[in-house]
Symmetry: D2
Subunit: 130 residues, 4 copies
């Protein structure tokens, strides 16, 4: 399972004075996509943190094509593009019906409690690398 779609309803608090979903908020959505993609692979990110493994965002880029508004019902498609025990690259597409609102990419690194890069434990790699 290297791709997942989740439904997201735009909250009022996420809009700005222009009447649009604020652009910083997209990255919160992308993080939700990653959480759910892990979960469907049988991995709880919360448990991963409790075991001392943390995913930190090393790089993001996003192209904003069309605005979203309050109460819009969106679909976020999150896909793993590249995976290794110490790094994962994701691609994101945010859609409202057939319209592509935004597309993005990110690179995350796996670090330990000390902030140093560390490989994910074998049981997690086995689930995610499948």
């Amino acid at each position: 399972m290297n791709s997942i779609e989740i439904d997201i309803r735009v909250r009022y608090a996420e809009t700005d004075a222009m009447g649009y979903l604020h652009h910083a908020q997209y990255f919160v959505y992308f993080e939700m996509g990653r959480t759910e993609l892990l979960r469907r692979s049988g991995v709880s990110y919360r448990e991963l943190e409790e075991r001392g493994f943390f995913y930190v965002v090393a790089r993001v880029e996003c192209k904003f094509r069309l605005p979203a508004r309050y109460d819009d019902q969106l679909v976020l498609r999150t896909t793993v593009e590249r995976f290794s025990p110490v790094r994962v690259d994701h691609r994101y597409e945010l859609l409202r019906d057939a319209a592509l609102l935004a597309e993005a990419r990110s690179t995350l690194a796996c670090v330990g409690r000390d902030g140093r890069v560390v490989g994910l434990p074998d049981d997690v790699v086995a689930r995610l690398g499948a």
Copy 2:
């Protein structure tokens, strides 16, 4: 020093589709007021946390009288109304020039790493209780 005024400029991301500062954001401002009030008393909240003492919000109330907008230059007055080693009550007034936009109150409890109520260390009580 049991009262402090700080300047806050409303950020674009803090507004909503109504064009107003979103009401949840006021509580973020109040927290800033508390941080600065502690700092002026010679107490760094960050250091307090590093020593294992945490202020958790037990109760808040806020009356919103007039809206604020993007780029408004506001003044937040934060006052300690009641203080003990395990609890502190604050009052807040958010102003734009002479206009009172909001007034609020909060009660915080001091807890340890385990989440249980604990008294602040003596050196901190001495500074804050003065």
Copy 3:
């Protein structure tokens, strides 16, 4: 339909350095509860705004009893306690399984594009006042 329960999963971005759901975020959840309660009554708040009617928050209070954490699956119960064409009072209970994490109340006023209090249109009052 004067009460509704919605499911909310705590997002990573909503937590703070204490590891808890930040207290300002609760008010974002309460707003979601209001939106869904209106929707189940056949009223779209987005359409209400398009027709020139806006609900502004006049007062909130919240007691925080137990913290929530990242990825917690919560239930928010939102109830109308008092309703008139120009004002509505809500009560909120945020739960994780049987545990009551927070309880809150709010008062909203209905205003027009000019920010002055105005009564909701009759068709909306009919649906909400039932």
Copy 4:
């Protein structure tokens, strides 16, 4: 004036359970940098919106090099890299003392109330293009 430095103190609400400034929040800071860069050039973004001109974010990218924490005192350097009446490219560097925490770039388009690309008014172009 095509570059500006502003001071930003990390707020508690901006941190996450990892204890770091949340990565989405960086984009809120960058927006603050743009607002202040315009202001120093004699242009109020708020007035620009009141005149019917809006800057929408078309693209962002950010590399996160080192984490920031609660209460860190940061410096954000915002620079115009390319400017035309319909588009502006910015570069951002977020620093804590001599350490570069993040570097980013964005492209904004100027649109009218209808969301279509439109050139900035001549008096604004004159100030910004100098």
